[in-house]
């Protein structure tokens, strides 16, 4: 067995030989038991390697690592909101408070939202429309008819089989980040968690205080606990939007 033979067999295993070279090698394999035995041995090595190096779960991406990329997109986005704390903890202190808005319905356009008590609720039909139709983006905010802006951050499959989206909502000098999931039956978007990211007072006033570690991490934790996979790719999400999330 020559060095060249090993190289030929190796290229053959990897599908890197041209048709003519592969045919010539196959002819030799049919007539040379030693060559065939070496090829079998190399195949077993490949099988064992894949078994050793690709155990179940080896491609599972920790939520906090994916969040690094997502948060980088949020940070690069320049909008009229002066500061935003990175989820990975960059030391930028803002007053953020968990609004505990679990249970807040973001009604689709055929429902009228007159609750009015909370800014994120005041135009929830608009938010629902934006969540229904807007691709996730690192750079673009979608203007809402009431003067607010929404940025869909990412989409993921929730544990109950429904589709969920992380989003940011800005209105005036206030901004929130939340996660909403789409009911499989009604198609309504239901806010699961909502966090205030920033307020004018927090950015400029004497009440400036460090954000608690649990504030925006609440979003990460929710996604980490409920997402069944990494976020959808742009193409996967686009296809879902085109098919009304079916």
């Amino acid at each position: 067995m020559t060095e060249h033979d090993f190289e030929l067999l190796s290229q053959y295993l990897d599908g890197e030989l041209g048709d003519a070279e592969a045919a010539a090698l196959e002819q030799r394999l049919a007539n040379e038991p030693g060559l065939r035995s070496t090829l079998d041995s190399m195949r077993r090595v490949d099988d064992d390697l894949r078994a050793a190096l690709h155990p179940p779960g080896c491609d599972r991406v920790p939520r906090h690592v994916a969040a690094l990329l997502e948060e980088a997109g949020a940070k690069s986005n320049v909008v009229p909101f002066p500061s935003r704390r990175g989820r990975a903890g960059v030391g930028l202190a803002v007053a953020a408070s968990l609004l505990a808005a679990v249970g807040l319905w973001l009604a689709p356009q055929w429902q009228v939202a007159e609750r009015g008590a909370h800014p994120a609720d005041a135009a929830n039909d608009l938010v629902a429309q934006a969540l229904e139709n807007t691709p996730s983006s690192a750079d673009e905010w979608t203007p809402l008819d009431d003067g607010g802006q929404l940025r869909a951050v990412l989409s993921f499959a929730g544990a109950s089989g429904q589709w969920c989206r992380e989003y940011q909502l800005g209105r005036g000098t206030e901004q929130w980040r939340g996660v909403a999931c789409r009911s499989r039956d009604s198609g309504a978007w239901h806010t699961q968690v909502l966090v205030e990211e920033h307020s004018a007072a927090a950015a400029t006033g004497a009440d400036y205080q460090p954000a608690g570690a649990g504030d925006l991490d609440t979003i990460s934790n929710y996604i980490g606990e409920h997402a069944t996979d990494i976020p959808l790719s742009a193409s996967e999400e686009s296809e879902l939007i085109a098919n009304d999330w079916q």
């Binding site: 890197e16 390697l49 894949r50």
Partner: protein
Amino acid sequence: MPSLSGSQRAALLDELSGLRRFCFSLTGSQADADDLLQATVEKVLEKGMPDDAHPAKWAYRVCKNAWIDELRAREVRQRYPEQVEEPDGAPSAELVAGRERQVSAVGEAMEALPTEQRLALTLVAVEGKTYAEAADILEVPVGTIMSRIARARRQLADTIDVSHDD
């Protein structure tokens, strides 16, 4: 700080699962794979990426460099692979299935390979990259990838054959 474009970040997000698998292939440990993946993403975010770079290949290259840096820093390689390590009180080797012994043997033989051979073989035989893709990631000619993989396979096959003869 350089920043990534939206499309570069989206491409990286798409590639994270494959990168995580590659990290495990290199480290053989779930915890170390998480650390290596995080270091890779942080380095990409810190240093940015040329506009004309292929995001996935770029990320694999950064990952490879991060792993080599880690090896140099530690001057020891990680125990590997994790899933066939015997915990305390595990059954004796005689009770381990033959298949598992074989997988363990190839893991140990892999660990003994020169780093450049191990990287080339992992990218192609385990991760399914073409020679051209591996050459891009490792920044060497395609012919070098071909010869490194052939030498690696020969070494592994010889080692395992010897272990079977024992």
